[in-house]
Amino acid sequence: MLARRNPQLNAHGELIHLLSIEGLPRAILTQILDTAGTFLSVNDRDVKKVPLLRGKSVFNLFFENSTRTRTTFEIAAKRLSADVINLDIAKSSASKGESLLDTIANLSAMHADMFVVRHSESGAPYLIARHCAPHVHVVNAGDGRHAHPTQGLLDMYTIRHYKKSFNELTVAIVGDIVHSRVARSDIHALTTLGVPEIRAVGPKTLVPGDLREMGVRVCHDMREGVKDADVIIMLRLQNERMSGAMLPSAGEYFKSYGLTEDLLALAEPDAIVMHPGPINRGVEIDSRVADGSHSVILPQVTFGIAVRMAVMSILAGNDA
């Protein structure tokens, strides 16, 4: 019987699209992290640019707004010498009724080499990967509630940078896990890289018990959730979730699940605090923690550029 191949890999097991961390072997995750380390040093050179993607066109297709993610992909592609075309699709073709695949066909006719896709529908980047020309690579920059693999990878890079190895860590992910593609990508990556204890921390409405099936420990008590943690990943509480009658108010949420200095003191003394941004001060995180010595929120942004450079250059070097 023919095994169905992971659509992200070619026949040699090399990465040709980055759609999800789920199903990627540890060796590929490690290759991306190692490669990112090389690109981090490019930022320290007089010339902050290398020619690996010279002559290639990278199209940023953002069907859903995200200034930060789009900007870091743009910087990453430009530091690899690619030509970058930003399409704010939310405001253009889609609103005129063009179908996703027609949009892709038109952009392919403009000789795109890589699509970086952000879409509110889970699975949209898979659809694009299945229908684009064989030489075109697709990077998922966040699809619905499903996956945000480059955020997951930059989180792994950050953890490895500060903690050196994964195999003795306790990692707590706090907040709106159920709606978070970042949490899902982080959980898959942490599992693949061998983290022994992954905790999902938050209220029952946002951290349902069936998350245990992903191999995580579910905690509805914040003190229990952060106790002895080496890494605390705070998630943004999206305002629209609160209006969905899931939570009483931002203030109430902060009282129960906001990360304060007192709570952080329960974690390991050298614990790091991460956040994918943008942060809501006083909602999920206290300013003193966000700006404190345990916070690595800004280094995450810097590492994110190197990780995206690594992903794009690895993809561009592999044929379908």
């Binding site: 090399e14 290759q31 190692d34 490669t35 380390g37 090389t38 040093s41 490019v42 050179r45 007089d46 010339v47 640019k49 290398v50 020619p51 690996l52 250059s313 690895i314 561009a316 070097g317 592999n318």
Partner: protein
């Protein structure tokens, strides 16, 4: 099996003598990863330059990236000195097409504008595809294209040469 036998330690001795003659009081050695980096480190110690030694990688400037991909990135450029105005002597184990040297010179210029760049190698195996020449080569020989010559470093630090058939 190959009839070619190269005494890497003997060649190293000749390289050391050749590089010794090329060194000026302000020359810095930069080894090309990986074989050249081993050589540069040992040369820098043996010749007692009292200056830091650099390592340079061609990975980010290779012209065959489209065919070979990025592969494993173990090589990182480390240049622990000012490049602007520096007199640089690049060191590599083997030169063939010259494409690695082209890539490395581009990499070097990403860090600044050196005063001069020269190249010393252990073996010039011929087959140049670019107008690039070393100022010193410990040995010159002609190898067929399907054979690949690469330097290895034993656990005691001694060098050996291996000839591999490529497909």
């Amino acid at each position: 099996m190959t009839s070619l036998s190269l005494d890497a330690e003997q060649l190293y001795a000749e390289l050391r003598a050749g590089v010794g003659r090329l060194l000026t009081p302000d020359t810095v050695l930069v080894g090309i990863w990986s074989g050249g980096a081993w050589l540069a480190q040992r040369l820098n110690a043996d010749l007692k330059t009292d200056r830091p030694v650099g390592t340079i990688s061609s990975t980010l400037h290779r012209d065959d990236f489209g065919e070979r991909g990025l592969g494993a990135v173990e090589a990182a450029t480390e240049l622990p000195f000012e490049i602007d105005g520096a007199r640089i002597l690049l060191v590599d184990d083997v030169i063939a097409s010259g494409r690695t040297i082209r890539a490395v010179v581009n990499e070097l210029f990403d860090y600044g504008r050196p005063a001069s760049v020269e190249l010393a190698v252990m073996v010039d195996r011929g087959g140049r595809e670019l107008p690039i020449a070393p100022v010193f080569a410990a040995a010159k020989l002609t190898l067929p294209n399907h054979q690949r010559l690469s330097l290895a470093r034993e656990s005691d630090g001694r060098f050996t040469f291996a000839v591999k058939e490529t497909t």
